[in-house]
């Protein structure tokens, strides 16, 4: 029951995080945008059991993918395949990390959020370069990738503190604590 409740809350948090991150203005000098969705995604896949975590990752992929779709003459430039592969891949990695640390830890959530943000933005840039040609890597691109990742590292513990009491406790974690 607790898992279902957490899953529903996290599902609501996905579009909410997109709406919220769109309201936060860019940070000077390169107008870096803070990304909240990877922080919520990371919490979800670490806190939920494997199957719900995979469904949650799929939901995150759909939300992220739909915010990125841009129609060019009626045709979308990117489909949902890459977001789906990306989020499912990270969900499996983070589930394994969660098992290795015998349950969810705030450090893992913070580091995972930062790594997901970094790879998400870097991956988006590489995919755009592959699709449109050219590789204009400059300081603006580096700042726009690194600053949101650093911000995710700082923001993740806040979400962890707010939601940690809802995380279902595994038997292994209880045994480990004893």
């Amino acid at each position: 029951m607790r898992t279902v409740f957490l899953f529903l809350i996290l599902l609501i948090l996905l579009p909410l995080s997109v709406a919220l991150q769109d309201q936060i203005p860019g940070i000077p000098p390169a107008l870096e945008r803070i990304q909240l969705l990877p922080v919520v995604f990371c919490f979800g896949v670490l806190a939920l059991p494997l199957l719900p975590a995979l469904f949650f990752a799929l939901s995150a992929a759909v939300v992220q993918g739909l915010t990125l779709v841009q129609l060019q003459s009626g045709q979308p430039e990117f489909g949902l395949t890459l977001p789906v592969v990306f989020f499912l891949g990270w969900a499996i990695i983070l589930q394994m990390a969660s098992e290795a640390t015998r349950g969810m830890r705030w450090e893992l959530h913070a580091l995972g959020s930062s790594a997901v943000t970094l790879s998400l933005l870097g991956g988006e840039f590489l995919v755009i370069c592959a699709k449109r040609g050219g590789f204009p890597l400059d300081m603006t691109v580096l700042l726009r990738t690194a600053v949101p990742a650093a911000a995710a590292l700082l923001l993740a513990p806040l979400l962890y503190l707010a939601l940690r009491k809802m995380v279902p406790i595994s038997h292994e974690a209880v045994e480990a604590a004893q």
Partner: protein, 265 residues
């Protein structure tokens, strides 16, 4: 493995296959529905951030009042606050009159819209506005302000619409330079920073900073002719063509009200 887990796994694989094999039309429809879900959240977020913004303005006014109070001791604080409040109202009034006047003067049929949010993605330059298909908005309609071109509409839901700004790499605009025969194609950069690149100009083009650039209005294109696009900041010749860097005419960093062009009057 329990039966329910196997069923869930099959459902997951089916969902992944469906999402990966989805066609452009279905994806566009799905995005429109997603924007429909996002719309109330975006509107609420906009209302909250507007309230916080006006709170900041009030605090600034108090700072201004304090400095006024130091300079002119004869007037008391209450009167200053009242005057300041009236001044804000006057500014709002002037601004709205200017916007209304532009709508009446314009030769286009315009739908006024408020900017709800700026897209939080790093590599795209888009905003969301509070108009959608219910207001007669469709994809690929030009969006302008009284100062110049803003961009074009992209994904449209019932009451929300995404506008791709001219500073986005995907928003290409045919443009001509005032006082010359030079024509080129303007677009933004991959990591938009608020400048436009006008490419495919003649290598020998003698462009000076401050020259105005307008939309060229090619047949079958999205943008009509004669809308202010930007001002030349610099020009440099490349191997095959010339490229000018433009400052956009519309202030894209602080967009509040825009107009969607739905046709000519």
């Amino acid at each position: 493995m329990k039966k329910i887990q196997i069923a869930a796994l099959v459902a997951l694989v089916a969902a992944v296959a469906f999402l990966c094999l989805m066609g452009g039309g279905v994806l566009s429809e799905l995005q429109s529905r997603f924007f429909g879900i996002l719309s109330p959240l975006t509107r609420s977020g906009h209302a909250v951030s507007s309230s916080l913004g006006s709170l900041g303005k009030d605090l600034m006014s108090l700072d201004q009042l304090q400095s006024e109070y130091d300079r002119v001791l004869a007037e008391n604080r209450r009167l200053r606050a009242e005057n300041n409040g009236l001044r804000d109202l006057q500014q709002d009034n002037d601004h709205l009159r200017q916007v209304l006047g532009y709508r009446e003067r314009s030769s286009f049929r315009l739908i006024p819209a408020a900017v709800l949010s700026h897209d939080g993605n790093a590599w795209w330059s888009t905003v969301r506005i509070n108009r959608g298909s219910r207001d007669g908005i469709a994809p690929d309609m030009p969006v302008i302000t009284d100062r110049g071109l803003v961009g074009k509409t992209a994904a449209v839901s019932g009451d929300l619409c995404e506008v791709v700004l001219v500073t986005d790499e995907n928003c290409k605009v045919a443009a001509k330079v005032e006082g010359t025969h030079e024509q080129g194609i303007s677009s933004g950069s991959r990591a938009p920073q608020g400048e436009l690149q006008l490419a495919f100009l003649s290598k020998l083009a003698d462009l000076q900073p401050g020259q105005k650039v307008y939309t060229a209005g090619v047949s079958g294109g999205v943008f009509p002719s004669g809308i202010a696009l930007g001002t030349v900041k610099s020009f440099h010749a490349r191997e095959l063509d010339g490229e000018a860097i433009l400052e956009p005419s519309a202030d894209l960093g602080s967009l509040e009200e825009v107009f969607v062009v739905t046709g000519a009057k």
